[in-house]
Amino acid sequence: MTTSALALNGLVAVPVGFVLLAGLFARRTSDNLALGIAVLGSVVTFGWSIWLTLLAGSSLGDTDFDEAWIASMDVRWHLGVDGISIPLILMTTLIAACCLLSLIKHAPQCGGRVSLAMLLLVIEAGVLGSFLALDMVLFFVFFEVALIPMWFVINSWGDEHDPVGRRRAATRFLIFTVLGSALMLVGFMLVRSLTGTFDIAEIAASYTPSGSTAVAASLLIGLGLAVKTPLWPLHIWLPDAHAKAPTVGSVLLAAVLLKLGAYGFVRFWMPVTSVDWDGAPVVAALAVIGIIYAALACLAQTDLKRLIAYSSVGHMGFVILAVATFTVGGVQAAVYASVAHGLITGLLFFVAGAIKDRYGTTDLARIRELYGRVPRLGGVFAFAAIASLGLPGLAGFWGEMLAIRAAVDQSAALPGGTFAVLAVIAAFGVILTSAYFLAVMRGMLQGAPALGVPVQGAPVQSPSAQATTDVHAMEWVAWSPLIALTVVFGVAPGLLLAPVSDAARAFFGGF
């Protein structure tokens, strides 16, 4: 086995191996040891992804592994990486490691910490497999791996005050995603009937979509991915799932699982879609509606986790807007905004979880004056919120800025006027985003009545008479990589942009 084959397959195998190991230890020895093994697994996986990054070249052919898997169905075990998938892989392994690290000090109330850690690792393996897979059926298989574990995470470890609600949220998440992915599979099969192959690298290089079957295929694949990403109006599963999931579940959902949809759009939807169809402007319009809709919905939220969930819909709107421009700049913006959203929203959900641990609620009307009570926690929240609303100098800014720029500078085949209008509306969405985050900060951190939120009930007191503990060491460990990278990518966006543009040119064979 060559080095790159080992690196590619190992990235999926390592988390799975550690899951088995942790399961073995959980039976034989103490829970703490098993949890330690799971955490070690996530850290090793992160290290492994860095090794893979060092090996990887800029295009898919440089590092790939291609073996027959089911010969009779022409399904191949084809894995590979390029500049488009590498940033997402690194983000996934990093966020997963942060999630598992945060479990060390934070035992869920209903117990089963080791099981939770194992499920997170399984989800990680599935997501990594999806980012690596270059065969459409293989992508579909990995895409589905995360579903059942995520359903368990929400259903068993979700909001402890609302068992019915978390069950409904979990099941709705599952059904929406399964329906979406099944439609996507039908689309893949149609593409196969046109091209004779499941290999997306080959399809991207040589396939020119035309005809009604090709339109149907693109539509079905887009529909399936739109559920996952999510694209308005298919986002309705998302707020509940994010709000009811446990902290680590929300972080993984928002930071990692949504990126499967975004990545799928770049890798599997763009090659099978022709710019000449009317699909791209429609998708872009839906994305922009999502941006505005999410911002307005955020203004009306009374729950911090739901608010962050809706803000995710808006951010993913920017990603899809960028994709729909069919340019190298658009791909750059999509990848950049995805990574930025993963880091920032992951951090926001971590902080929201920390607030919930300390005060037992995420009700915006009842959490007050965090600057006075837990200044460091308040500070981290302020940082994440400002990053999320797109302050220049932090990662969130570039994601949105690049997306809007791509919309203005869209592919020549697309209607320029429409995209210009959409870009303006999207920019207006940025302003709305600032409005709601600033309102939340004023209310939650400083104590002023939040905008549009009726004051009801007394502010929560800390559970003990003493001041509630501020950010503790383990939380710093889990959060600091996210904070640091948000700053790094804000200051030096070029780190990410150059490899993505090389990879996009290589993958699509030039725009």
Partner: protein, 495 residues
């Protein structure tokens, strides 16, 4: 001058013959030993049955890769010979399902003895008789053999359903099953005779060539085709010919329900596949739209009605109706009938052992909770981890999600056949897969809830059932990791 005495290829018919002989042996052994008095004694007929099945599988395995035909007649005018009984890859794949399924069911049957209400020797005798019919149907290459073999599958099954002494529900289930089956046979015979009338032959190969040439009135042949399909649709329980399924499954012992949902249903499917691909291929434009509509109806009705079930076996009954819809899809999409055979057969094989796995665990739970409510499965993972995980795996595989990758690939297979020719059917199926998720997950959730009783397991899993669960679970896991081992030979059937 041809021989007056037909030359019979004994090796080709050996598996069916061995099963028939084993049936007689089991019955005789029962007469000598008398009814089993303990659970250990009850294993004797089951063991004999399994030995018979293993013996039958030896020639079946040796036949792999060969194509043999027997019971042939030469065309008087020197045309090609037509044969009634043929063994090829298709036959052998299906024999695999039957032998595996029957072995599992025989082992599950050991549970019934604990109640003491089922005569065990007869039970195994009937099982083997029915399985003999199932082996024959896969090898049949003319309509008469097909109908007779199908009846050999069904007749013992009626008795097996109603065999529990003093159980009014079992008797009702048996009667219902019997009536529906008889009617479907009558309808099918009507269709068969019309096809015969129109084409002048009962041999598939001759019907096929007659239709290609266009002998006889076309309308009669079309009517015959439709009636034959309707008759077989009763057997595979396609909607709207499914009404008998839930009551029969619930009334019958769980092991028999498992047999009906896998081996007996597979026999119906194989009949359908043979008739459609070997005999009526020329009429694909007539039957494909009909089968497509049947498939869409079957999966939708099955899934939607399964949503409300609280009874585990009834839920499995409806789910097996829905799964039958998926198996029909490739035929609804048939551009050429032979292209449908691979995906359909692949799905059938996978469905067979996954569904048997679910039924096997239901047998275990049924020993303590004959009511089979879904809430009775609560905490099974903690209490009885092996059975619990086996059921969890079977459920996710039936739903088509990882880690049940083999179930997922089964869906991929069917999607691949439908996308393109009948994309609408593929989309209907995609929606159905999502609906199905709801009830599989509802059941799955019960397994992982904390158990009602603390402490150790209160289940007493009989050895035979333990082996059956192990067989299905191992097969599921192994084929999920190496799907090529199963799918490559199955899909190679027609290449």
């Amino acid at each position: 001058m041809p021989d007056a005495v037909q030359v019979i290829d004994w090796f080709a018919i050996a598996p069916a013959l061995i099963l028939a002989i084993s049936a007689a042996v089991v019955l005789l052994a029962d007469a000598f030993f008398g009814p089993p008095r303990s659970r250990r004694q009850a294993l004797i007929p089951a063991t004999l049955t399994v030995i018979g099945i293993l013996a039958a599988s030896v020639p079946a395995i040796m036949l792999w890769g060969e194509t043999r035909a027997t019971f042939c007649i030469a065309e008087p005018l020197g045309g090609p010979t037509a044969c009634s009984f043929a063994v090829d890859q298709f036959t052998l794949v299906f024999w695999g399902i039957v032998l595996f399924g029957t072995a599992v069911v025989a082992l599950l049957g050991t549970v019934e003895v604990a109640g003491g209400r089922t005569p065990h020797g007869e039970w195994n005798f009937l099982l083997l008789c029915s399985a003999t019919g199932a082996l024959t149907i896969a090898a049949s290459r003319d309509l008469i053999t097909l109908v007779v073999a199908l009846e050999v599958v069904s007749l013992p099954a009626f008795a097996m359903v109603g065999m529990r002494r003093g159980d009014a529900r079992a008797a009702e289930a048996s009667l219902k099953f019997f009536l529906v089956s008889v009617i479907s046979t009558a309808v099918m015979l009507m269709g068969v005779s019309l096809v015969y009338g129109a084409t002048g032959s009962v041999f598939f190969s001759q019907i096929d060539s007659a239709l290609a040439v266009g002998v006889g009135p076309r309308q009669v042949a079309v009517a015959g085709t439709l009636l034959t399909i309707v008759g077989l649709a009763f057997k595979v329980a396609a909607v709207p010919f499914h009404m008998w399924v839930p009551d029969t499954y619930v009334g019958a012992p769980v092991a028999v329900a498992a047999y009906l949902s896998v081996v007996s249903k597979a026999a119906g499917f194989v009949g359908l596949m043979l008739v459609l691909t070997f005999a009526l291929q020329g009429f694909a434009d007539v039957w494909a739209p009909l089968v497509a509509v049947l498939a869409a109806l079957t999966m939708t009705v099955g899934n939607v009605l399964a949503l409300w079930q609280q009874h585990a076996v009834r839920l499995l009954a409806w789910s097996s109706v829905a799964q039958a819809g998926y198996i029909l899809v490739p035929f609804g999409a048939a551009a050429t009938a032979s292209s449908a055979l691979g995906p359909s057969l692949g799905y059938l094989v996978i469905y067979a052992f996954v569904n048997l796995g679910a039924f096997a665990v239901a047998t275990v739970v049924g020993t303590r909770y004959p009511g089979q409510r879904l809430s009775d499965y609560r905490g099974l993972i903690r209490e009885e981890p092996w059975a619990g995980w086996a059921l969890a795996f079977a459920l996710v595989a039936l739903a088509g999600l990882p880690p049940g990758i083999i179930g997922l690939l089964a869906k991929v297979l069917v999607f691949s056949s439908a996308a393109g020719p009948v994309t609408w059917l593929a989309v209907v199926m995609a929606v159905n897969v999502a609906i199905g998720m709801v009830y599989y997950v509802r059941w799955l959730m019960e397994l992982f809830r904390p158990a009602t009783v603390d402490g150790g397991s209160t289940y007493d899993v009989p050895n035979g059932v333990g082996i059956a669960i192990g067989m299905t679970f191992t097969a599921g896991i192994a084929f999920s990791i190496f799907p090529g081992l199963l799918l490559d030979p199955v899909l190679a059937v027609l290449r």
